[in-house]
Symmetry: C2
Subunit: 168 residues, 2 copies
């Protein structure tokens, strides 16, 4: 279709590869720490963190949890079931909409989160932030936040035209 194949130049390639490798290594390091310190996968940690840190009430609907954490609903059901079996969250039908399920972090969940957080923080600090000054960190955040917003808003088009959560 497009007759001008837009190559990535050297600077872009370097940025792309560095981004993917840094994120990959960081995730790997963090996953090890979470597993050893609290027997949590990264996704499970993200769910607990969203409920325990981001949410004022400690509760969220499954659908809202799915956004941003996981790519399919069944994956969320699977992880939520694991967390519930471990006693770290509770699931109950919503009062306003009987179709919805509200997930709530339990005291045990908050305790697990608190147990894991210092080590988690420590890994991120040592691996990611040690070579970055405060100005660097601000600059990094300033560069990546718009990219994140752009990605959330713009699902892949030409080369990967599928939508993420809808059927065709």
């Amino acid at each position: 279709m497009a007759d001008t194949p837009p190559r990535l130049d050297d600077v872009q390639l370097e940025a792309y590869f560095a981004l993917m490798e840094v994120a990959g290594l960081l995730r790997h390091a963090v996953e090890q720490q979470l597993r050893e310190a609290g027997d949590l996968s990264y996704v499970q940690f993200q769910l607990l963190a969203r409920l325990g840190l981001d949410s004022a009430t400690g509760s969220e609907r499954m659908t809202d949890l799915a956004d941003g954490v996981v790519y399919s609903r069944s994956a969320l059901t699977y992880q939520a079931a694991l967390l519930e079996k471990a006693g770290l969250v509770a699931r109950a039908p919503s009062e306003h909409d009987e179709r919805s399920v509200v997930v709530t972090i339990t005291d045990a969940g908050r305790a697990r989160l608190a147990a894991v957080l210092p080590g988690h923080t420590e890994v991120v600090r040592q691996q990611l932030f040690q070579p970055l000054s405060r100005a660097d960190t601000k600059a990094l955040s300033g560069l990546l936040s718009p990219v994140r917003d752009h990605m959330r808003a713009a699902p892949p088009r030409s080369a990967a035209p599928r939508r993420r959560k809808d059927q065709d």
Copy 2:
């Protein structure tokens, strides 16, 4: 041990979360494209790219391939076997060291790589680089490259003290 739990401040948290989400969304988009355009996983693409683009000869030892692409040797054996079965690489014992296995990209492997690359590039350009100016891209690369080098050199210590490729 440490009596000063070093929290991450808001700027660091923002940078950390943005990094992980950007890399996660990008990898997801890229994996879809690679699967649809060439039936390749991201790891398989990385292996082909290293052999076909980075290596002058098109060949590398298994051990050298493992470094930077994969976290365990068995995972590399698994992926290399898949690529070989698909005819995209060939494996042969090294002449200099009979223990080593040299992996070489085939013509079919180069063709597959060429078939996949334009779409891959297009996804990365649209998803990652569209909101970034050239100066932004340079800055991003300048920030992340030192972090990558730091991570390669400094395996996780206190909180996750295991080494990556050695036994205890």
